[in-house]
Symmetry: D2
Subunit: 365 residues, 4 copies
């Protein structure tokens, strides 16, 4: 159920409706939009008596939502969600600056120190599959930063098919990531694999990643929903679109609205790639949901030489960004070397992706 | 790496080899077989100097294992694993007793109060999708017991696609399940969804179920591996056979060798069933692994009228048992009513499955 | 659209309705059932004025059919279709005879020289993947006949992925098959791959097989529909159930109602079998259609050691028969040796499948 | 087996090698490249005595080809195949002309009246799913021509899942297509569904399309291989990459080297699109084969609003062109209206696709 407020509804009116909803034993989720606020109601097992709500001041109407998801829906929020991640703006003379599209925008100054994802802002997250050492992390961070990336990825906790494979360095890797942020001003994205690691990731990182294997680890989703940090949620290997959006709904339902979706390939009969990258999901998500959607061409293809063409394709299809594995010595990587691109290839990727984003009137920041 | 001991190797010799392995910084897993013991070595990231091990008393040879899984492999243990679950034997005159195939077997007496799974023993686990109330649980337990089932299933924690769907009663449901065991002597199988619920399930139930969505929740698998209770591990919706066996390997690698695998359908393009039940996995598992494998025809098909034919098919293909949803009022079930069969249908299922098991010289117990 | 006739409607009344339908510019398909006849109407692009038909003598009602298929539907014909294939009855003393379930049935005598498929009759079709020589064909035919098979398969035209693979002997193989029938009285099933080969197959064989790759070769389906010989139609590698039934509908719509469906595995991500055998399709087909459905466990699994368990499973699930590859020297077979079973294994298959069919009150003939 | 000739080998030397190959009972396929010629040998069932060939004048070496495909392989022909389709160049002042990249190229003049596909040339084929009438065809042709398309598609023979659906107008549609070419100078692409229709399509059209359902209709592939017209071969719904290339190999093996591949989506569990468009196949094909590869975003997604984003993505991924359904009145289309875009949307598509092709240094012609 959604309660749609009038465009000129006051904050008091919104608060009063929320209080009434809570008094009825449900949970209220005020969702501010550019013109008006909607209030999502969750926690109801049966039908709600909408009469009392519809007669309250400032309320336009109550809309029963037939789709299984509510808060992630475009019905709940017409405007695209723009997630802001703290990251230092590129400053050195040789580096491109994000053009200020609207210099009078009050948010511009702050935005210089934040990367935006969604709503026309394309963000590139780059780095190694796993953090292996401080030297490795700094070497790669320097290079991706030089190429224009403002967000850095690197696994501290690695979900591995085999119990005998390298499982990540754990907290020491998180400290390395914090050092990368300190030195290069890059925003940090890293994966949590259970509640314990999420506590630590939340402390050190800027974005909490939930991996494909945990997309329906509902206990972990709820915990991420109680965090204040943005969450990057990857699509499960065989998740339908509804399941994907419902997994995001778990996070929003707990109060965390800063969710970034990420397509990373699905499992099919097709055997020449590690997974089948399903780029059609981009326009499909954008029709149904206000959340931004990234693409991971590294896991999505599993082959270095396919990362560049599929990165271009993802941005051309309208993705709000990319999550790319870059390694300066891929042949020596402890995991996923086969699908990591070299720093030089990443530079080319940034160049081409900027040009393609421009065709869609979008900006890579 | 596997160290194969001589048939007449003493316990001291086995212990000595294990100590040497641990001294080298690895983990030793002695795996007793019917004729001889093998010792699995895990924890090695590189190659092991096998010279010192091969020269120890009682050692036949050291075998490098090329397959990604070790402890679950037939190489490690030739004999089928038989999992024993405490459950009272059927006693009332009208009920069939499991025929004692070998009356001189010393384990026979104990076996009467245990259900065996694997090695020619076919076990049927039946009950509702979710525990809804004590009345519901008892009503169904009475009926499935009367039909010959000795193991009872029922969800206390339900992983649901939607955060707004019924998520299970939690601990109160576990108390109801304990009551079912008390009254009817049925062994209890129920799902844990995170470390917290696993602590409780371990306390109340006889078998800890790990669901398909958590098959690669490695944190949960490790926790289950540290439990003393048998673990029923369901195949993930798009898990390859290797991934399925590797998930089991996570549990064995922590020291819990009582793992029961369960096929529950995989996700394909095919749209007339909820999932595509992949019965070929039965002979495939049996070739590669010593672990027993069950089939869940309820989730595997998602349709009531397909449960009976596919139950027969599973046992005919050589499954070590079934996990079946039974509800006395399926139309009023809080979840999965569409795929639950009625007690009368379950009675027919037991009858037909017994006859088919006999064709394979197997016994339903 | 279906016109349902009264139970006591005369042949003249049925004919009159058909003539009216044809006069309206449509095609009439009288479908006799055990109690009454239904008349399918095809060829209508829009809606039909049912008034004139419903008022005709002998007509009970006109039913608009919402499902995309009409003639293959259970709505059109309640009773299971039983396809009869000429084949000599087993005569030597050591061989089992099909028990005459109803000795007063006028059709019994003829049935002794025909194999029935469908309606409780389970038929086993066995033989090599491809006909390689007269010696090979006779050697295998003798053995499968001795094990109780009454229908023989063997490819004369082989659709092969590579243009450089053995493509079958063509007409000489058809002559060999005719010789097999002459000597052993086995009914012959062989594949046609285009209109040209269908002309020849129709001349030599008893059943025309349409392979999975040609399931939607509509030109070939129409040609098969104009034949008088029964057609065995294999499910395409990624065919949905509706597409499978619609492919059969193409054949029936041309006037050939003797269609036998065959599940042979579908393509999924699962990589330990050549295809994923989808046994749930058996009860699904039986609910929707009156046509018999076989299972091909050889292509369905692609591995010799899985053929036996999956053959048992197929019959246990209710399949109306099996299509099995048998070769006396599989390692020397020109195609598909890996999935062919040995004559001894086939004997065991026949024995076990008879026992399982009996559990379902069905007879292997 | 490939025989690689010296760069300066004479035509006589090439011919002599071919004659020797034919004398040995095989088939020789001379494949001219930019620097040297290779000669493919097909028809050999066993190994070939390469000694006699390697010692012939002009021969560099003989390479056994391990991949199942030979003639379609990059090993056989390093340079990308460029298929030329006769089509009048855009002439009206408002229309863009393909820039002449190399004015001294002798082929430039002719190229103005030919559309090139492959080797940096991106071609757009547009038109309705099915030809419904002359008026419809001309209306759409005029609009797609105005937007810059030089190739026109439109079905005369439609393979339809249901025998009761519109199956195309047949030869009258081919005559309409010929009229479209006459009036607008557009090259004509249309589908053949069997040998009979192929005879007619070959007569009227410029490119013979083989549809996804017929990708392994080997009889039809061989017939297409004996045609002089280029063949557009669509990937089957569940074809692996090897199967796709082997299907093309059937055509080349008969002597027709002008094959254009086309990805049109594969069948997966994913249910929000009609098929899952597998864009990773583009770099995968380009690595293995010299043949050009197009993308059909209309069938690949099945939804109008996804055609534009996925068209951009396809070209960004490096596709050699697009096959797009355009209809001026999609709601009234006899087939596939849901996935046809409007002429205005097509105009936008052309504009955006040109810009993206430029990022890859490619030209839309």
């Amino acid at each position: 159920m959604l309660v749609v407020m009038q465009a000129h509804a006051t904050e008091e009116q919104v608060r009063a409706v929320c209080e009434r909803i809570e008094a009825l034993g449900y949970k209220a989720h005020p969702i501010p939009g550019s013109t008006r606020t909607a209030i999502g109601i969750t926690g109801n097992t049966g039908s709600i008596d909408i009469g009392t709500l519809e007669s309250m001041p400032g309320v336009v109407e109550c809309i029963p939502v037939s789709k299984p998801y509510k808060l992630v829906s475009r019905d709940a929020k017409e405007d695209a969600t723009v997630v802001r991640i703290p990251a230092r703006a590129p400053a050195s003379p040789g580096e491109e600056r994000r053009p200020d599209k609207n210099p009078h925008d009050a948010r511009t100054a702050a935005a210089k120190d934040a990367v935006l994802i969604g709503g026309g802002n394309v963000a590139i997250i780059a780095g190694p599959c796993a953090i292996e050492s401080l030297e490795q992390a700094l070497a790669i961070a320097e290079r991706v930063r030089a190429a224009g990336a403002r967000l850095f990825r690197g696994g501290a906790y690695k979900p591995r098919t085999s119990p005998y494979s390298f499982q990540g360095l754990g907290e020491p890797a998180l400290k390395i990531l914090a050092e990368v942020r300190e030195r290069y001003g890059l925003g940090i994205v890293t994966e949590a694999v259970d509640n314990e690691s999420l506590d630590l990731v939340e402390e050190y990182a800027d974005v909490i990643q939930i991996g494909a294997r945990n997309m329906q680890n509902f206990s972990l989703l709820k915990r991420a929903g109680r965090s204040r940090k943005p969450v990057l949620l990857k699509r499960g290997m065989s998740a339908t679109l509804d399941e994907f959006l419902m997994a995001a709904e778990y996070i929003l339902a707990e109060g965390n609205y800063n969710v970034i979706l990420c397509e990373r390939g699905v499992r099919t009969f097709s055997d020449f790639t590690r997974n089948t990258l399903d780029l059609s999901v981009i326009p499909a998500v954008q029709r149904r949901s206000h959340l931004p959607i990234l693409v991971d061409p590294s896991h999505g293809t599993g082959r270095r030489h396919k990362v560049l063409p599929l990165s271009r394709a993802a941005v051309a299809a309208g993705a709000d960004g990319l999550l790319v594995e870059v390694h300066h010595e891929p042949d020596r990587a402890l995991s996923d070397g086969m699908q990591s691109i070299l720093p030089d290839e990443f530079q080319q990727l940034m160049r081409e992706v900027r040009q393609i984003a421009a065709v869609l009137n979008r900006t890579v920041n």
